[in-house]
């Protein structure tokens, strides 16, 4: 029905967020950062689905960060948020 995501320039002011992808997710999607305009109450889980990032829901191995801190996929996003999807970490 109501699409949660619109082009940033076409949506209501104040609900624009930034989406970032890293590593294998970035390469599969073919982009690393996008500005999006959202309906109020949109969650990372919904953004993932609407952007067609793969597999329907967020895979269990992918973690969500909001404003550079780990966050729940079900936390409503706020205007200006930086949302990132992180594939499995392999540091150290």
């Amino acid at each position: 029905m109501s699409r949660a995501i619109g082009a940033a320039h076409g949506a209501e002011a104040g609900l624009t967020i930034q989406v970032r992808l890293f590593a294998s997710l970035r390469e599969h999607a073919g982009w690393d950062a996008r500005r999006l305009a959202l309906a109020a109450g949109t969650t990372p889980e919904r953004v993932w689905r609407e952007l067609g990032l793969g597999g329907g829901a967020i895979p269990a191995t992918v973690r969500v960060a909001v404003n550079q801190a780990f966050a729940s996929p079900h936390q409503p996003l706020a205007a200006g948020d930086e949302l990132a999807f992180l594939p499995p970490i392999s540091g150290g």
Binding site: F22, A23, S24, Q68, A84, L86, P88, S90, G91
Partner: protein
């Protein structure tokens, strides 16, 4: 449980090769003699534990590794490393922590990570160092891609502790 004084924690990301022993010695520009602890205001701790991890020469496929590419999330990676180190330092009651991590394209034999912990007792120094190393492998946003035979393969997960 509250810490009256924040524990000094130094986090460094290096876009090029770094020398772990030079960092432990306090860096080339350090004129003090206290090494990395001295730079953090702490002289000659009774106990100090270090861990150095380096790039292997072999890819997960078994072929020779040409390079290891390390991607990170600028901003979040530094914040996570600081937070993990602070929490681990407070949990073990240690005196100071240094974490250095490589980013970018690294060659076999080059240092990937250095964790150094100074404390008043050997147990906390060793345990904090070990726990922080595990924590950063799972909680700090780094992604490795192995280059072997001209092909890049993202590493999903970490080398087993062994």
């Amino acid at each position: 449980m509250a810490e009256a004084h924040p524990i000094p924690v130094e986090v460094q990301l290096h876009a090029g090769p770094f020398d772990p022993l030079a960092l432990l010695a306090g860096g080339p520009s350090n004129t003090r003699t206290g090494g990395w602890c001295g730079a953090l205001g702490l002289e000659a701790p009774a106990a100090e534990a270090h861990f150095i991890g380096r790039v292997r020469g072999t890819a997960a496929t078994g072929g020779p590794l040409e390079a290891l590419e390390l991607e990170h999330y600028p901003g979040m990676t530094e914040r996570q490393l600081q937070g993990l180190a602070q929490a681990c330092a407070a949990r073990h009651g240690v005196a100071a922590v240094l974490v250095a991590h490589r980013v970018g394209r690294a060659r076999p034999g080059e240092a990937l990570v250095l964790v150094a912990v100074a404390a008043d007792r050997r147990g906390p120094a060793q345990r904090c160092g070990g726990e922080l190393l595990e924590a950063l492998k799972h909680e700090a946003p780094f992604w490795k891609r192995e280059w072997s035979g001209g092909l890049g393969t993202w590493v999903e997960g970490n080398t087993p502790l062994g």
